[in-house]
């Protein structure tokens, strides 16, 4: 589907399916490029789709977890007797009941399953209870008597360097001192800025839940919405003191994933309690526990100095980036690598001196949330670009145009950008897109004064006389797949049996659309319309976590290879019989035809009642870790986007409404137009949330108001019109299908674009996200 068709679709009020149906009647119904409906869409809309919280087993027990009320304390004693004595309580476990490894972690094993002698963050698990009723479990958990010696929490990441170590591993998780080019060079114009990014929470629609069932062989099966089942299984088995094959993680319906879901915080208590009691054990977290239990986006402090010549060409970027990792390391080292590597943005910078630190504090743990690292620096470097443009008296778009990178340019890590990098084209597209009309314009499609949704909402206090409109631009980038030498591999199996094909791949459908894509790939290669994707569990070969466009690339690539192997098996006998090569045969709509039309048969006939199976792997080219000066080819590929934000600000109240977000994105190739659009809309909306309202408030290490009233997610009224002005389809030759990651880039760029627009409307610096009303107040 061409990008023009997407552009022509009005953003507002049109169902997603309208994009394809209205514009291109000849569009394929299946295969790559089709807007295939997700198989579970109807069930999800009707509320019959089973999520982990809906699971049930005969005679199940309910689990509850006791969490620390203090951010930092020494545990003097834990007395579980009051809980164990309660009628209905079947088991109480603490760190003493962990048979295997005491600590776990994805990169560094630094996190205990249950706090042993120290609690390091508010909400850290201390004990867990299984009881025959959820209320009994909750009351029993509350009855456990824990004596704490409260310690002074380290909550300021800047003080973490000097503070007493809060963990045996020390407070510094990683430092990357990136040096590129000549450090002593200075520019004619220098602008400085200090930026602060808040703590966004993934706040998934469905809170964490799971069910563990003990196995007769001493193992355990865990049913939960894991997004990385094999890693979770391996880590959980180590804690359980079992071999990995004794633990089976079965992935159930995932209710929204913008981060890792249902990691060990859910699986460890469930598995341990199930094995202890011999009964199925279920846990369903409430909203408060969900906020306390999962990882957040790294709050970040950034200090920048941009050097440029008088023509606005960047000379040097100096930056200090401080990530608050919270109490445990988790994925912070990866987030830091992204932050440091992309600290200058998609611009050509001849010299750079960038220091990044990820430090440990007693704040809630940070981890993988879409666009981690890249999002925080984007808000900062785009703020710097606006500042530089103002200093030079130059148009902000013109300044960016002079500096954007293209294929062949170097990142400050010394890596050459080999993938398509159509940054200039993206910027041009959003600049040229028509602006949304103002009520005063009286133009066609302009809202009347009555229909104009003012900042503050339909019944709000907004006053048209105090509303100023601002337009801001931002560019940004993310990397795809794991970085720094991570082994990114996925395995998939494809089976054809009669008119039906089946895909087995442990890539979790988190809502990103992988299962739909897998069906499309098989349709494309084998011409079979009916394709099923089987549910994921750890008995299948690993496919890795779902993040950074990974499953489209490696899992999609594996499915394609397996399907092609099946195709060869299917066609070889036919080709041999007719004395032609398999390349001369085509499969479409379940029919096999030869180039000359002599041969025409159906797939079902060609199979002759056989089942054909093939398994294949996809592994992209290897990467290398960043060295002591932050140099190295650390990334497989990059994806870019340009966004223009249009905002209305009531400058007396400081209320902001995002009117429109115009997106131009480098997507490589559109595989499913409808899903692509949905992913971009979701990413932009999440980015708007990070820009305006989403910040989990923490005071002296204690999470304040962990609920959805005090953590305002964007509602339908807050979500702007999202206009996709251009999807640049320059295929990335190393990626299967040439497609790039689409979900993370809009999350990265949107907050920066909204900040730029508010800056333009108010003249205020806007160097803090989310933008608080007092930062958007100006004299009218």
């Amino acid at each position: 589907m061409s990008s023009d068709a997407v552009t022509a679709t009005p953003a507002q009020g049109v169902p997603l399916t309208g994009t394809a149906a209205g514009q291109e009647p000849e569009q394929a119904r299946h295969g790559l490029g089709a807007s295939l409906q997700p198989a579970d869409a109807l069930a999800k809309v009707q509320g019959t789709f089973p999520y982990a919280a809906d699971l049930w087993a005969e005679g199940l027990l309910w689990a509850a977890v006791l969490r620390s009320p203090h951010p930092h304390a020494r545990i003097v004693s834990v007395d579980t007797a009051p809980a164990a004595e309660m009628p209905g309580v079947r088991a109480v476990i603490t760190h003493e009941d962990v048979p295997g490894d005491a600590t776990h972690g994805r990169r560094v094993a630094d996190r205990p399953a249950f706090a042993r002698d120290t609690v390091r963050h508010h909400g850290e698990p201390i004990a867990a209870v299984a009881a025959d009723h959820p209320d009994t479990a909750r009351l029993a958990a509350a009855a456990i008597a824990v004596e704490y010696e409260v310690l002074e929490p380290v909550t300021d990441p800047e003080k973490a360097f000097e503070a007493e170590p809060i963990h045996p591993d020390g407070n510094l998780i990683r430092h990357i001192p990136l040096r590129y080019g000549d450090e002593s060079v200075t520019g004619e114009v220098v602008v400085e800025g200090l930026y602060r990014i808040g703590r966004q929470d993934p706040a998934p629609i469905g809170a964490e839940a799971g069910l563990a069932v003990p196995r007769t062989d001493g193992g355990v099966e865990i049913y939960t919405a894991s997004t990385d089942p094999h890693t979770d299984r391996d880590l959980a088995a180590a804690c359980f003191g079992l071999r990995p094959e004794q633990v089976k993680v079965v992935v159930t319906g995932v209710p929204g994933a913008m981060a890792d879901r249902e990691d060990l915080s859910v699986q460890l208590p469930l598995g341990l309690l199930a094995m202890r009691t011999g009964c199925p054990v279920k846990l369903a977290a409430g909203r408060e526990e969900s906020f306390l239990g999962h990882a957040h986006r790294h709050p970040t402090l950034l200090r920048y100095r941009h050097h440029a010549d008088s023509d606005g060409r960047l000379v040097k970027v100096e930056a200090q980036i401080l990530l608050d990792a919270g109490a445990y390391a988790d994925d912070s080292a990866d987030a830091l690598a992204a932050a440091v590597s992309f600290a200058a943005g998609p611009y050509v910078v001849p010299h750079a001196a960038i220091d990044g630190w990820a430090v440990r504090t007693n704040n809630p743990p940070s981890g993988h949330v879409r666009g981690e690292g890249a999002m925080q620096v984007c808000a900062a470097y785009e703020g710097q670009m606006d500042k530089l443009a103002a200093r030079l008296g130059m148009d902000p778009v013109e300044l960016r145009t002079r500096n954007v990178m293209a294929t062949g340019d170097l990142l400050p890590t010394g890596q050459t950008v080999t993938c398509p990098a159509p940054v200039a084209e993206l910027l041009r597209a959003v600049r040229q897109a028509p602006l949304p009309p103002l009520p005063a314009d009286g133009a066609d499609g302009a809202p009347g004064p009555e229909e104009w949704l003012l900042p503050g909402g339909p019944e709000g206090a907004g006053d048209p006389g105090a509303v100023r409109r601002g337009i801001g631009f931002a560019l940004g980038m993310v990397h795809m797949l794991g970085a720094e030498g991570a082994d990114e591999v996925s395995t998939a199996t494809v089976k054809v049996d009669g008119p039906v094909a089946t895909v087995m791949c442990a890539a979790v459908e988190t809502g990103q659309g992988f299962s739909t894509l897998a069906r499309q790939i098989v349709q494309e290669v084998l011409g079979v319309e009916e394709v099923h994707v089987v549910a994921v569990d750890t008995d299948q070969p690993p496919a890795g976590p779902g993040a950074r466009g990974r499953h489209t690339w490696v899992s999609g690539g594996a499915v394609e290879r397996a399907a092609k192997m099946v195709r060869t098996q299917l066609l070889q006998p036919l080709a041999a019989k007719f004395g032609m090569s398999t390349e001369l045969l085509t499969i479409a709509d379940g029919k096999i035809t030869s180039y000359d039309g002599v041969l025409s048969t159906t797939v079902a006939e060609a199979l002759e009642g056989k089942e054909l199976w093939a398994t294949a792997q996809c592994r992209p080219h290897p990467t290398e870790p960043l060295d002591d000066t932050g140099q190295g080819d650390a990334f497989v590929s990059l994806a870019f986007a340009a966004i223009r934000a249009v905002v209305d600000v009531d400058v007396e109240l400081g209320t902001v409404r995002v009117v429109e977000m115009a997106v131009a994105q480098d997507v490589g190739r559109v595989l499913n137009p409808q899903q692509l659009r949905a992913r971009i809309e979701a990413g932009v909306t999440q980015g708007v949330g990070a820009a305006l309202t989403e910040h989990l408030r923490v005071s002296r290490g204690v999470v304040r108001h962990p609920d959805l009233t005090a953590y305002p997610l964007p509602t339908a009224l807050d979500a702007p019109d999202i206009r996709i002005v251009e999807l640049v389809e320059e295929r990335d030759v190393v990626a299967p299908f040439g497609a790039k990651s689409v979900s993370a880039v809009p999350v990265v760029v949107s907050p920066a674009a909204v900040a730029a627009a508010v800056r333009a409307a108010t003249g205020r610096p806007v160097n803090r996200l989310p933008i608080r009303p007092q930062a958007a107040v100006a004299s009218p």
Binding site: D135, R138, G286, R287, E288, L453, P455, G456, G457, E459, G460, A461, D463, A466, E652, L653, G654, T655, R657, L692, T693, T709, P712, P714, T715, A716, L717, D718, R772, P773, Q774, V777
Partner: protein, 286 residues
């Protein structure tokens, strides 16, 4: 328990003193669901049809405590008490407005309760049903300030609100475009008969605040018999007057020296109150 009349509800509460009355449940049930509250029993007020409508009584409207926000937001109600209708429309998403009631808003007495500043500005009174049989009348402001309390076994039956037949406004500032809790809210009510302006500020203190001096000052400037409009400077001065009254500067320390400065967040709330009061009065007089 689902009583059908107020008397039955009072009797049910008398029979089960540990029971908690519940109307829309938008506040109570979220506490129950999150495990913070565990009432021994509930007395549902949803079937008491006598408190789900309103009637007229010598220049006043007698509003049933069971009126939902959705009902109060409709145009017929807005013609009677415009500010209360505006507050009801602003009080959250449709699901909340369909369930949440006027009486519940008063009894919960959350600082951010949207109807509360309007009731304070209207000088409404609450009629309370109790074991004694007769209805006890208490000003809303007394109840909210804790000067008088609901006694055990009592239920808010009605809210008595004067019908002023003049413009009223309710403005609310929130952190987002979609429904949200008020950062600050201001109700402005004109009373042409008594030649008064009454204003109440919500969400900045545990109860709605009445800037009485600012009300009297601005009422004295209005030409009640002619065009009521005021100059923009007067409206702005009124806004500042209201804001300073509700969020005063901290007093200078006893031993002299510099008075402490309010934190930026408090200054922003003050600026917001000033803007809302200015716009509210301006729209009421326009």
């Amino acid at each position: 328990m689902l009583p059908a009349t107020l008397d039955e509800a009072v009797a049910a509460l008398a029979a089960t003193p540990a029971a908690v009355p519940v109307a829309g449940g938008t506040d109570l049930m979220s506490g129950v669901n999150s495990g913070l509250l565990r009432p021994a029993a509930l007395v549902g007020l949803g079937r008491i049809s006598e408190i789900r409508g309103w009637e007229y009584q010598d220049g006043h409207a007698l509003l049933g405590a069971g009126l939902t926000h959705a009902r109060m937001g409709r145009p017929d109600f807005a013609a009677l008490i415009p500010a209360l209708a505006a507050a009801a429309r602003a009080a959250g998403p449709p699901q909340i407005r369909n369930a949440g009631t006027l009486g519940g808003n008063i009894v919960t007495a959350a600082p951010t309760g949207d109807s509360l500043p309007v009731l304070a500005a209207l000088e409404a009174t609450v009629l309370i049903a109790g074991p004694g049989g007769a209805l006890r009348e208490v000003p809303v402001s007394h109840l909210l300030a804790g000067m008088e309390m609901l006694r055990p076994g009592e239920i808010v039956g009605y809210v008595r609100v004067p019908l002023l037949h003049a413009p009223q406004t309710f403005l609310k500032a929130t952190g987002r475009t979609g429904p949200g809790r008020a950062l600050a809210s201001v109700a402005v009510v004109l009373d042409p008969v008594r030649r008064g302006v009454r204003c109440a500020v919500g969400a900045v203190a545990p109860m709605p605040l009445r800037p009485v001096e600012a009300e009297q000052w601005v009422a004295s400037l209005i030409d009640w018999d002619g065009r009521r409009a005021l100059a923009p400077e007067v409206l702005a001065a009124f806004g500042d007057y209201v804001a300073m009254a509700c969020i005063p500067d901290p007093p200078a320390p006893e031993g002299g020296g510099e008075a402490p400065v309010l934190p930026p967040a408090a200054l922003h709330v003050r600026r917001t109150v000033a803007t809302l009061a200015r716009r509210g009065l301006g729209r009421a007089l326009a």
